[in-house]
Symmetry: C2
Amino acid sequence: MDHAPDNSLVLKRMGIDTHQEPIVYMQADCHVCRSEGFSAQSRVRVTTDRASIIATLNVVRDGFLELVEAGLSEAAWRLLDAAPGQQATFSHPRTVESLGSVRAKIFGHAFHESELLVILQDMAAGRYADIDLSAFLTACAAGGMSLDEIVWLTRGMVQVGERLTWNHALVADKHCVGGLPGNRTTPIVVSIVAAAGVCIPKTSSRAITSPAGTADAMETLAPVDLDLVSMRRVVEREGGCVVWGGAIRLSPVDDVLIRVERALDLDSDAQLVASVLSKKVAAGSTHVVIDIPVGPTAKVRTADAGGALARLLERVGREVGLIVRPIVTDGSQPVGRGIGPALEARDVVAVTRGDRDAPGDLRDRAVMLAGEILELAGACATGEGNASARAILEDGRAWRKLQAICEAQGGMRTPPASSQRFEMTASGNGVIAGIDSRRLARAAKLAGAPADVAAGIDLHVRLGTRVDAGQPLFTLHAESPGELAYAREYLTEHPDIIVVRAAP
Amino acid sequence: MDHAPDNSLVLKRMGIDTHQEPIVYMQADCHVCRSEGFSAQSRVRVTTDRASIIATLNVVRDGFLELVEAGLSEAAWRLLDAAPGQQATFSHPRTVESLGSVRAKIFGHAFHESELLVILQDMAAGRYADIDLSAFLTACAAGGMSLDEIVWLTRGMVQVGERLTWNHALVADKHCVGGLPGNRTTPIVVSIVAAAGVCIPKTSSRAITSPAGTADAMETLAPVDLDLVSMRRVVEREGGCVVWGGAIRLSPVDDVLIRVERALDLDSDAQLVASVLSKKVAAGSTHVVIDIPVGPTAKVRTADAGGALARLLERVGREVGLIVRPIVTDGSQPVGRGIGPALEARDVVAVTRGDRDAPGDLRDRAVMLAGEILELAGACATGEGNASARAILEDGRAWRKLQAICEAQGGMRTPPASSQRFEMTASGNGVIAGIDSRRLARAAKLAGAPADVAAGIDLHVRLGTRVDAGQPLFTLHAESPGELAYAREYLTEHPDIIVVRAAP
């Protein structure tokens, strides 16, 4: 449909940050609103000579804009790559036909392969409003996804983004399905595996519903927002890296979906498998070890659920050309001591450097996972992975490799410390009989993690530890008094996050 | 949790219309953002000495606000009933615990009665973001709702709003489940029933996914945004009214949900039954006739589905204390001629006034429904409802009642005419063999209905009409050239909306 050339306005940067949602601001009585019939919350197509996006309209009464101007939020400005004074034309977006497939899914129809691809293309192009993304995720979680649907979702997510290739026949990778606070093995595993000469170009995500993702924690040690050229340089030089995947548009729809999943606090197996494996395929990986922690308050709660997820990862992996080795691990309590980006990074450094007081459970898990990769990659004989990985950690090769990777990524940093702290102590003598990982994670988030990188929880006890009344159980860290108070309020409401059973 | 008194800012009305979503604007480096750790899209509690709401934060860089000011969108300003220069305090909203029940529903758990009530209370208080409302609606549609859940949803929706009482033991009501364009019987039925001396205080809704709701059409004849006191005055004087239910906060959550349902283009039986019956209970109705049009392109497509919906309405009605008589009717084509608020109101006037060229199908449906109500209410003998209603229409009592009701509601108006028109003609000779009600409705919406009240479609043929090439099939009406063009583009893409079968 052709629009008269006068359907145009001059773009103005409003300086309003609406996070990822693009907003356009216009006066109600400007000629575009009048001729197109736009009103508040209309979805509007904005087109410049360089780009075209769909944005949501906020109608401005007066004062902010001239009648010939249209304002853009920061996200809209960025997506359009706009320049001050630039002209744009405004029109009705075409009907997003693929929303019909989402509605069919809601009412119990399975997706076809081509439907899923169009949905993902529409999402990547910003044609789905937040409520549409929410409906898609909810429909997939509620209706369930068949193996075919998950495979198509995974392939589609790869197809709408960049795809990396490497000059290695074998490219290793690891992943943890998460849900276990403090389980920050990745930088340690990458250091060991790369030191052993196996290529491991690791792209990681930021937190979805947890207080820290690997990218969040790693960012307190080195830059992680590397573009593809920079990432290649690091991998060529050091054989490995730990960077944020989002900066190189691997499976970009995953990032769109993750933002809404995070706000909804919603995870499902299908989205999880497609999210994880699409990133792996797009990153050019061939051999992938996946850590699935199982525990009563971990993301995966039972051995059965862990086994089912493991089988799903293996099967979908095979369909999309990956060799996947899922490993169900103990998830009965947090790993290491820190929960939150900087606190977890501190533990990573302690383990990799071989500090005497480094958390042993984090070290043992990292060594086990690195050993599995070394065996899967044929870098050592079957059964010798663990010993091989441990030797690389103990003789300092892993620590030298971590430092070298951080330097190559832009320079090693020291994780920042928090300004606000509160120590939670035991109310009586006894033995630690339970640690609620979910509520600890929730408290760490209320304290500001992952956005406030120094915020979180430093855990001083483990299951079975004997404590006396008044002995510190954990320390709450925050960067603002309001968030410290908010997290403390939550702890007061949930006094049984750490269960101390009276000693006999 | 107590907040220091300095967690306050001065409120400023931004004059930005974001429809129903409350937005608060602050500078990133104001003392509230810094101490509370707020960033773009944070959910923020705003509290004045009069009210408290949850709003979404947009961060403003500079220019718009002083550091001691917080801006409010129009919706936020309205919800807070704010005054310029007023102080407000800002804090983290408490965790919305009821979202846990929504997540449980997504994963297949049924709601308990108390969970649904808390969810509805949270929605009424504005604690659900749009993506949360979308997840709730999608989860209910996808997982299905048991009879118990629908009853609890209905009761809960009544409980969180106003509830009317009348000085009549018998209060009649009617409803159409919609989906059939042009089926605007309500003002005619109300006029007949009220003229027969049966109390019928009708509250109607605006369009959900259709080009016009009864309130939208009636508004072109008289004001419908009446408060409770005004509505009572009309009903006491005339025995009936046709007003918008939203203005008197009957089942206010229904309006919240309808806004998102409309954006998602999503209807489900459970939401439909709860929506309809909660409004009826809240309106103080006792005897309700419900029109369920069934046709291949109506909302209800098969007689089986119509029967299932009828049984559900009856059963849930009984549980919530209503006598419900559902009537499955022919929905194979639009009713009357007009589709869109003003065009439908024109047909209503023609039928009620007894114009010779008034659409006979609209008249017959209205008479049948009014007759059912008269029988249900005991205002005539069983089997005589139809004749009784027809007499009231034919002798002019219904027309005098409609005029009196319009005057009592604030003055009768003439529906406006459109400024932009396009005539769709038959491409060949033949007989009308199919009319796609859904796509006609879609075209009417693309032309601007219901927001542009004069927009829509005027249908000149019915199933079985003989047409010659070049003869007008329907006229498209719009209020802006952009929307006319947009609707025409849709018609071009879907040339088979009206099927002309070549005459033998």
